[in-house]
Symmetry: none
Subunit: 207 residues, 4 copies
DNA sequence: CATGAATGAGCTTTCATTCAT
DNA sequence: AATGAATGAAAGCTCATTCAT
């Protein structure tokens, strides 16, 4: 069996094991057995547990980014792009729960070398969302109302909400990707709208 | 030294170690040394690593819940209660980063027994937020517009966004709890408002 | 059983195993079993295989140096001191063949960290021998005939010959320490005598 | 490429690797890569690591013996033959440090099967030196003074001193083979001379 | 003639856990 | 009430060695 194929099999097994057991609790023995190969072969092809984990993170991050990127066609309006991206995001995470666990939970929990990999991916997504927010602001001619930092914070909150909903949708039976995306659009986009319309909430009272 | 005090010292050391190293990487040796006691004493008082971790999760969950609960005085308006709760949440997580790491990262990353503990806490918070959303809906006389499930999903998204912002605020220098809470209120409460005002976003076009 | 005693037992087992199997071929399992303890205890007390090996080298080097030092009483004439030292050297190495193997073979064969330890010991011995050669030169009033470098080279050769003879004496049944020491004295001291008497061998013919 | 050539290339790589890393630390992978062939080919030609090591020892032992043998022309006087042999010995070991490391350090450090190979070579050299000593004794007509066993012990000491000096000369910059050989001749041959002249050192006093 | 693919066995090291005192 | 002493079990990693082609 050619090396490239075996490598993918190993990474499939690794993603599954890391996602379910966690990085430390996952043993190379288990991964090798699940992949149907011997442990030395895993080391021969992927060097070390750390390298294997990093390779998994990278592969799954690429896949998730690609899913979101491919869904949002640049010709659409900003809100339609966001909708398509969210739908793709919820669909992809629902279809690859172990990969999502690796990216969202494991990679961020086990130290800099791994967390940094995910930060890159997350920053790409946040940047993409920021772009859409900016585009939406321009579309409604109120760009001046939103400072750079506000856009960042909003994007952070939106992505965070999406990540949280992804977990909830995966664990709650009967919640579809469409429903999750719809909830988030209703929750966020509308708020964004009024926000750009100039209304602000403050502890002293609405402005 | 009385037992109760010793136990708290051990749990302090455990929270710190678990939060920084992670559940698996934290060793009982390190925890015992940090607590200034011998290892057998830790076992005598807290039985096992699992039990110790569970005890930490429970203690810190209680503390976080209490902080949020105590902040939101029931006499205030729903939006003021949410604001106070969010502020307390961001303040508490910023002041106890290791405890927050234990709850948000470690507990959810290392298997059912622990994740379940956090789910209890999270559900309490989500229920609390749902309550406020419901109250707000009643205050604006549009309760019928929001189905039970929508409320749940919104609460999930709000809590998820808060969790995400908590991490972002802790890691980004110069972002205060007040600022984080303000961003979230602007982002969410407004959206909630228009939502309750009957406007919906849908892929087919705004309604 | 107190720690200090156990540590010596472990080092005894380690010296034996390292001496017979070699550093790499000796397994911590075997050492632990020979010492009558579990492997973790060996690590608890002696940290690592490298540290254990280093500790063995140091202990045995000290013991050998002490044996030679204690034998050569400073009041004696230089030749008697050398005789006593050689006798002690051959006796000690014959009585502790594994220790001698560790020092002479293993330590020098497995890289700088270990070889350096032995170099220290060897340099001490070489210095001691150089001292005696110098003393002998003064006793015969021909100190000016022997340059510093010649003394060093002679000491090197003498120590080398002694090391070689130690191996030979250990492996050849019926060769006593006394005999080995006698051979070396005859071989070397006499040559030293004539050398200091001014005679030299050169490829061009005797001078 | 003919088999014989490939085999020599492999053994060159093996000698270098064994000499620098040691028998156990040297991996067949590294040897194969250094030789520029695949691992199975090494096994096809040389059977096993043990066999490969043995082959290296044998080849290098032959080479060293040959160098010494060829240098000492049988027509010369005994002292000139010894001089020539020593010079060749120091020159050869200086020019092939890895080979010398294999013979002097590695082979003797890793168990009987290999040490025995070197013993054969060493015995050949010792026998050769013994021969010269005997010849010298006959030349000076004092053969009766030197018992067979004394000759052996002297040869052992001489060879040991030479081995020790070889290491010293290789590691000390600026010490040439000629110088090392000269030192040894001065040190040993002279002693031999007086010895054969009937003088002995004994603990009871000179005879 | 030569190799890419694959593994059984063994190594060092760590850790949660328990006695005996 | 508290600990020094000790271990069973398992993990990451490496290596000599062999097939099928």
């Amino acid at each position: 069996m050619p090396r490239a194929v075996r490598e993918q099999q190993m990474m499939d097994a690794a993603v599954q094991t890391f996602g379910q057991r966690g990085y430390r609790a996952a043993s190379m023995d288990e991964i090798a057995e699940l992949a149907g190969v011997s442990k030395p072969l895993v080391y021969l092809y992927l060097n070390s547990k750390e390298d294997l984990f990093t390779a998994c993170i990278r592969r799954e991050a690429q896949a998730l980014i690609a899913a979101v990127r491919d869904a949002a066609e640049p010709d659409l309006a900003a809100d339609r792009q966001l909708w398509a991206g969210l739908l793709a995001f919820f669909t992809h995470t629902a279809e690859h729960p172990d990969a999502w666990a690796v990216l969202h939970r494991q990679a961020r929990t086990h130290g800099e070398p791994f967390a940094a990999e995910v930060v890159v991916m997350r920053d790409e997504i946040v940047a993409f969302v920021s772009l859409l927010i900016g585009a939406a602001a321009r579309e409604t001619h109120r760009a001046d109302e939103l400072a750079e930092r506000d856009v960042m914070a909003l994007a952070q909150a939106l992505v965070g909400a999406a990540e949280s909903l992804a977990g909830w949708a995966n664990e709650t039976p009967g919640v579809s990707a469409k429903e999750a995306a719809g909830t988030l659009m209703n929750f966020a986009w509308q708020g964004l709208g009024t926000l750009m319309a100039g209304e602000r909430w403050s502890p002293a009272g609405k402005v």
